[in-house]
Homo-oligomer: 290 residues x 2
Amino acid sequence: MPDIIDGNKISEEIHAELAAHLANISGRKPCVALVRVGDDPASISYVAKKSKVAAKIGIESRLNILPESTTQEQLDSLIDNLNADETVDAILVQAPLPKHLNEQATFNRVSAAKDVDGFSFANLGKLCQEDKSAFVACTPAGIIELIKRSGVETRGKRAVVVGRSLIVGKPLALLLMQKGIDATVSVCHSRSENLKQICKEADILIAAVGRPNTITADMVKDGACVIDVGINRIPCAEKKSGYKLVGDVDFESVAPKCSKITPVPGGVGPMTVAMLMANTVKSFFARSQK
Amino acid sequence: MPDIIDGNKISEEIHAELAAHLANISGRKPCVALVRVGDDPASISYVAKKSKVAAKIGIESRLNILPESTTQEQLDSLIDNLNADETVDAILVQAPLPKHLNEQATFNRVSAAKDVDGFSFANLGKLCQEDKSAFVACTPAGIIELIKRSGVETRGKRAVVVGRSLIVGKPLALLLMQKGIDATVSVCHSRSENLKQICKEADILIAAVGRPNTITADMVKDGACVIDVGINRIPCAEKKSGYKLVGDVDFESVAPKCSKITPVPGGVGPMTVAMLMANTVKSFFARSQK
């Protein structure tokens, strides 16, 4: 059986490192402004989790809750205020936004210097340029940390990313091909022919599709490292909530073939929160050195 | 033998389309400011070529020549003036710059709205976001035009890009994976293991390495489309100049295996100039509609 990459444990290590880094600061704490629009249950849960982890590390979080009926102008106005607020280091607008709001325009409105989500064009462009001052999107950054801290070799190896989203697939591909990581990167998506064959070439296979059981055992090379980014809710009568979380990978059949694999939950998920905290601390120190 | 993709012919078509598009404008013409620092012979030749093509299409070009000894402050000051000049639609800083100047910082200083080279973080980030208002770097944009106008199928096909530069490899990979183009994209580089095997999987193989004879016949699948981005000067006693231009592909051995292939010179090179003109015209109309 493979090594299970324990995202909970690795994220706890990062939290402890960040807390230690903040232990000796005087004056105000780092501050992340969390923006939630509407009452999507998953968003409520994610934002609450982020607040809780922030408090544990020594980061102040300020929760800004707007009603579902919020207009683009109202949301823009809140972001402008947070951009201008000298006591706010970091701004996170929880996705998904209600359908009548423009998500990309909203992400681009966040000041690049506070865009700890890394979704603005400014930070995406700096990531292309391999500019170390960029804020890298939290899920891709978390995947790289998981890979590095699990001792997975990347240099010259074939990484296959399934999914070309702006939130995961594209920034992750840009990270994996950077100097120092040096993977040979392939990006597959819904239009790709021969998906099975391409996945089977991967030393590192990353599934970021959002559909359960997309990656099955016949698509995985013996000894591969498999990273599962999917968080899918499927009905489950045995659970009190009525659902359970599964990834994009058919874990039971795939795991026996892998050298390493991430579980869902407890793999990539907690790393996303950890990297949000790391980006907030990075912003705090960058801004305090100005 | 394969179809030779004629970059000269296709670029002439684009020039004619742009000239027709400009035929009925009244008032001032579109204007591109060309900035050259020092007297690198290749740069002199590229800038002269760009001026000549611009004149033919009906675009004004203003040549700004600075001495090799120019400081970063002096170059920045010129760019700031061009950014502010309402009669300038487009700014191109010819690379390579002398070693004492910071190329990336210079590209980033050009206003995103006039950055027809597409090398600023703002335009790279917008390319990631598939924002149609972005200026896409001219060489990758030219390659996409060559592929489209040659009737090469991209949807679901495997495109392998050899080279991960900011100027070609990365933006080209982002373009090829965009919705509507839909290729499955792999990016290889100097650290890649099994380069030969990966290249051999390509339906579309793009060489952007800058080293002659990097792609040999044993690396190419029968029937592939091969795009050669390299422009390498090698000594040649038979030429009056003492050198000749060759690409990254060993054309003689590779061509018989291909369905389509670009020559060097006369393939990608002229497309880069054509796309600079297309971006200048795009900027002109975008700015005049404000």
